[in-house]
Each structure stands twice: as C-alpha cells, then as structure tokens.
C-alpha cells in the first residue's frame, strides 16, 4: 500500500533549503546590497547600531506575536499597550522620585511596573479570549482602543515626560551597552534566542503549533488548549513590557502617539518571516528577518533621495508583498 490518495509530498531537495526558507533571507540580502550600493555609510557601525536598536522594540514584541499567531490568535493591542505601559511607568517613577531619589531602586521599580503591567494586560486579553470565547480580533481591537484612550487620559491629551534628572540616569539603558553593542540589541538577541528555542524545541512551541493547526486535535490529544492560548497572550504582554523598558529611556516620554501602528508592523514582520497568519506554523528567526526588512526599508529611504518621501509607504508595501510572494514557490498549485 502506498500513499496515493493525494500527491505525495514534494520530495525535499537535500542540501538546498526551499524558497520558504530562502525567500525572506534573500529579500534581506537584496535590501542590504541596495543599501550598500546607495550609501557608503550604510554599513557603518553607527548606522547598523541605529537600525538594530530601533528594530528592538518591534522585534521583541514581534517574537511574542509569533507565538500568538502560531497558536491561531492575533493581538492588535500591543502598540497601545506599549504606550499605556510607558505612560504608567513614567507616572510611577515620577511619583516615587521624592521617596526613592534618583538611583537604581527607582529604575528597578519602573521596570517592575512595566513587567507587571505587561503581564496583567496580556492576561486580561488572554482570559477574555479563552474563557469567554470572544474572537481575538474583537477583544484586542477593544483593548487597543482602551489603552490608547487611557494613555491620552493619563497624559491629559499631551505628553508624559520622565523627570529630567531621572531620564539622564536611565538613559544608558537605551544608549549604552557592552562592547559597543547597545542594550536594546542585546536584550532583543536574548529574547530571540529564547524564543527560537521555545518555538523549535520546547513543549510550549509544539503545543502552539498544534493548536493553531487544529485546536480540536489538540483538545483530543489532552492538551490544555485554553491554558496554552492564555500563555501566548501573557508571554506577549510580558515582552511588550520588556520592550517598553527599553523604549522609555530613549526619549523619556510617552504620549497618545507612542507606539502608533506597532501592532501592524509586528504582525507584518511575523508574516514576512514565514509564520502562517491562520496559525499552525511559526518560526522566530523568520520574524527577526521580517523586522529587519521593515526597519531597513525606512533606513534606506532616509539615506537616499531616490523617491519622493510621499512614496515611502508604497515602497514599504511593495517590498512586504514581494517578500511574501518569494516564499510561495513551494505552495503553488497546492
């Protein structure tokens, strides 16, 4: 008896990875080549550091988003959540300033606030989605509006700014690092490595893929589907908190426009990286490539005068679509 009900799986070509793997990498390499060709400063240490550091916020969030999407979910609230957490962090730190003074304890308090708020926000999204069974799209669309309003309200329509002295003390968390590598880049790298291991080799990642693939099968396989789903949102919330910890020292402020459209950038990065939007398959390293592609497009457009700045969005959109088309070779006709 042979497997003939449907065409047998395309025999994997040994040695040469398929386009689903090569596609995003190829797109990234093309962008790098274009950047090098157009501007000699493109590969300078300063520019590379800038691009990596600014990718870190969306990147850290996108790693969490990879798990949510792999498990068949979606989170639209991460951008507003980041803004809200940043605002909350600033308020808490400013309020504690008279009592604690400028020093490590107050920074730790701020970080703890961010992590706690992130976990709580993620838990809230997750519990509404799993226990009450409301569509993730609707729950997170709702919480997106709620957090965005809350930060506007906290800031009284204006901008929340960290006390100047405190900001100066906190600043190195964004701008300094070890051996010339900035802290945001280091934290991003650590999150990516842990995420990749969790996705590839841990029970959690396997369960996420199983649930996203077919949650009925997961349930009949004695997997606690709701708990795993909830965990993906909590994990994402935690990472939003971590990203905010890196974000606040950059400009020391939060306003209604903080984190605007981050959710869409994070989702786009995840999909460019090869994770399937309807769930069932995800890869963290792909998400990293996706984030870098998005950052590099903006960077290259700023470094050159090739096109009108009015067309930046169009170029970005075209490259996103192209990166995804490049991956489709293996699926044609399927």
């Amino acid at each position: 008896m042979t497997a003939t009900q449907t065409p047998p799986a395309r025999a994997p070509r040994r040695g040469l990875p398929s386009m689903t793997v090569l596609g995003p990498i190829l797109a990234l390499l093309v962008l790098l080549a274009i950047g090098m060709f157009l501007n000699e400063n493109f590969l300078s240490h300063a520019n590379i550091t800038n691009v990596l550091a600014r990718s870190a916020f969306i990147g850290i969030i996108a790693v969490g988003m990879t798990f949510v999407i792999t498990a068949g979910g979606l989170d639209l609230s991460v951008g507003s959540m980041a803004a809200f957490i940043a605002g909350l962090m600033i308020l808490v730190m400013n309020a504690a300033l008279p009592a604690l003074g400028i020093g490590v304890p107050i920074i730790l308090l701020g970080m703890a606030t961010a992590v706690a708020a992130g976990l709580a926000a993620g838990f809230l999204n997750g519990i509404l989605i799993t226990s009450l069974g409301i569509e993730a799209f609707i729950v997170t669309l709702g919480s997106m509006g709620i957090y965005r309003s809350l930060v506007t309200w906290l800031a009284d329509g204006g901008t929340l700014s960290l006390d100047f002295g405190l900001r100066t003390f906190y600043r190195p968390v964004y701008y300094d690092g070890i051996l010339g590598i900035g802290w945001p880049i280091i934290v991003f790298a650590v999150v990516v490595i842990l995420g990749e291991i969790a996705m590839r080799s841990a029970v959690f990642g396997r369960h996420c893929a199983a649930i996203g693939s077919n949650d009925q099968v997961a349930r009949y396989s004695s997997i606690n589907v709701n708990r795993v789903r909830l965990m993906t949102y909590v994990f994402l919330g935690l990472l939003v908190g971590v990203a905010t910890i890196m974000y606040v020292p950059r400009l020391g402020s939060a306003s209604a426009s903080t984190g605007l459209l981050w959710e869409l950038e994070a989702i786009a990065a995840v999909i460019i990286g090869g994770t399937v939007l309807k769930g069932g398959f995800g890869r963290v390293w792909g998400t990293v490539i996706g984030v870098l592609i998005l950052s590099l497009i903006g960077n290259i457009l700023n470094l050159t005068d090739l096109v009108s700045p009015y067309l930046n969005g169009a170029i970005q959109g075209a490259i996103i679509i192209l990166a995804v088309i490049l991956q489709r070779e293996g699926r044609a006709g399927g």
Partner: protein, 314 residues
C-alpha cells in the same frame, strides 16, 4: 485683517456683556482628537474654554466632539445638526475637502459657522475664520535661520504629516531662506511625532557628515531630533529650531539653552479664542464676523517669559 494676539482684547468684551436670560443656545465644537502634542494642547484649550463659558453664560450649551479621522468628524457634525439643533458650530477641520460639504450644510441651516486653523475648500461658507498663519510660521522660521547663519550653512528639515499646513509652512520657509546661502540638504517627514523624527534624524546623521542646523518645524519633532543628536555625540550641529511653543521647549529657550535658541509660536489656544468670539457673537450683538489671523511670533530668550504657560499640557 485684524491681528489678534491673545484673548486679551476679548476679555474686555466678555466682561462688558451681561448674561442675558434668553432661550438656551447650543454651540457645537468639533475638533480632531489629541493624537500629537499640538492637538493635545488644542484639546486642552477647547475643553477649558467650554467649561469656562458654560459657567459664565447660563443660556449657552456646548457640545464638544473629538474625531480621530475626517469621516468621524463628518458624522459628528451631522449628529450635532440632527440631534442637538445647534445654533453655532466651531470647527477645526481635519482636512479641508471632506469637511466642506457638511459644514456648508450647517451654514445653510442658518447656524453660525466658525472655522478654525484650516480653511474650507470653498470660500464664503463661514461667518468667522480664526487661524494661525502657516506661511508666516515658515517665513519667521526661515528669517530666523538666515539671521543665525549669516554666512550660510547646511541644514536638514523635518516636515510634519503631509497636509496643506505643512506645505504652506515649508514654502514660506524656503522663500525666506532663498538666496541667503542656506543649503537645505534634505527634507523628510517626521509626522509631528517624536519617535519618527528620532529615526529620521539618526539617518540624516549617518548620511551627512556635516550639518550646521536643523529646522525641526515642531517642538515634538525637535525633542526627537535633540535625542538623536545627543546619542550620536556629534558636535557640528549648532542649534535646532522647533516650533509651536511647547512649554518645555519655551522653558529651555528662556533658560538660555544654546541648542534651542528660539521658538516660533503657533498657539493651540486659537481654538479657545474662536469659541469665545463665537459665544460672544451669539449672546450679544457685537460684530464678530470676518477673519482673525493669529500671527506667528518669534520667541527668544528675551521675550520667552510671555509665552511660557506652565499649566498647559503643551
């Protein structure tokens, strides 16, 4: 054209007008939501004006609606007309084109119409037009830039969200700097947003080894620009010129910060002015129709004290 610097002249007018016991009149106020610093300030001043005027005039009712996009603003205005039967509308249009029709509808219903900041695409609809001077904002900025760099210099420009306002400002700036030896290396949209302008400025710094000054054209963007310069450790940039008079930036000018030697006003309080004039027009017979252009003024360390409002959110 009358220049109205603040609401001071109006204050006298208000005090002279007794609260008359008449039928209650309703004023609708429709403004964009607080999505960036200046708009936040404008929201603050609108709310503050509404509260103050409601307390002053018992027979005035206000309906305040904030919209996050033009379509929402159109709906707001239609709702006001249909359900609240407004006697006057104070509107700061999100964009000129889509709002022209609905506002015209309000005017045809017989209500008083005050348009703020952004003109409609058809003339003669509004009874009163209160606005900042966008070409003037660019011109004052350009003239200052030229005076600070008498021997010429290389500058980069951060632009706002692509709109008529932004275009008028940039055109004014370019006209004022033309022939002065100031070379604009590049212009890029920072969208009146701190994070975006930080990113754009970082890339400008990578691209151009020598920059003499930056026209950030807005104080939110100036903050992002300053952070990027500070992080790069570059010493060649002499100063950054923002705009709109954010209190923190005015404070730094007042304190003599060499990087922020000046500011150019574009007061978000113009909405309060517009609401006040409209209210007065409704309750009295004072002649208030016409055009009020609130000029952009250069703020320097010498006069900064007059433009520093510590209680404002902006």
């Amino acid at each position: 054209m009358k220049h109205l610097m603040t609401g001071l002249a109006l204050g006298a007018l208000l005090a002279a007008t007794p609260a008359l016991a008449q039928d209650t009149k309703v004023i609708g106020v429709s403004i964009p939501a607080a999505t960036h610093g200046w708009a936040g300030g404008m929201n603050y001043f609108a709310q503050e004006a509404v509260e103050r005027l409601e307390a002053t005039y018992e027979n005035l009712d206000f309906v305040l609606a904030t919209a996050s996009d033009p379509a929402k603003q159109v709906s707001d205005i239609e709702d006001m007309l249909a359900t609240r039967n407004i006697d006057a509308l104070v509107v700061l249009p999100f964009e000129s084109e889509p709002l022209t029709g609905p506002v015209q509808g309000v005017a045809e219903s017989g209500a008083w119409v005050t348009v703020v900041d952004r003109g409609l695409s058809q003339e003669g609809i509004e009874d009163l037009y209160v606005a900042g001077d966008n070409p003037g904002f660019g011109r004052v900025s350009g003239e200052y830039m030229a005076s600070k760099l008498p021997d010429g210099g290389k500058i980069v420009v951060l632009r706002g969200i692509p709109t008529t306002i932004d275009n008028e400002r940039v055109e004014g700036f370019q006209a004022a700097t033309e022939g002065t030896g100031i070379e604009i290396l590049a212009m890029e949209h920072g969208n009146w947003n701190r994070d975006d302008s930080f990113t754009v400025m970082q890339d400008f710094l990578s691209k151009y080894p020598e920059i003499d000054a930056v026209w950030a054209s807005d104080d939110d963007m100036a903050i992002g620009v300053l952070a990027a310069i500070e992080a790069s450790g570059r010493e060649d940039i002499q100063f950054v010129l923002g705009g709109a008079g954010m209190k923190e930036m005015v404070k730094r000018t007042m304190d003599g910060d060499a990087m922020i030697p000046a500011n150019v006003t574009y007061p978000p309080s113009m909405i309060a002015t517009a609401i006040e004039i409209t209210a007065v027009g409704l309750v009295s017979n004072a002649p208030v129709s016409g055009e009020f252009i609130i000029g952009s003024v250069l703020v320097t360390p010498e006069n900064a004290g007059q433009y520093y409002f510590p209680d404002s959110p902006f």
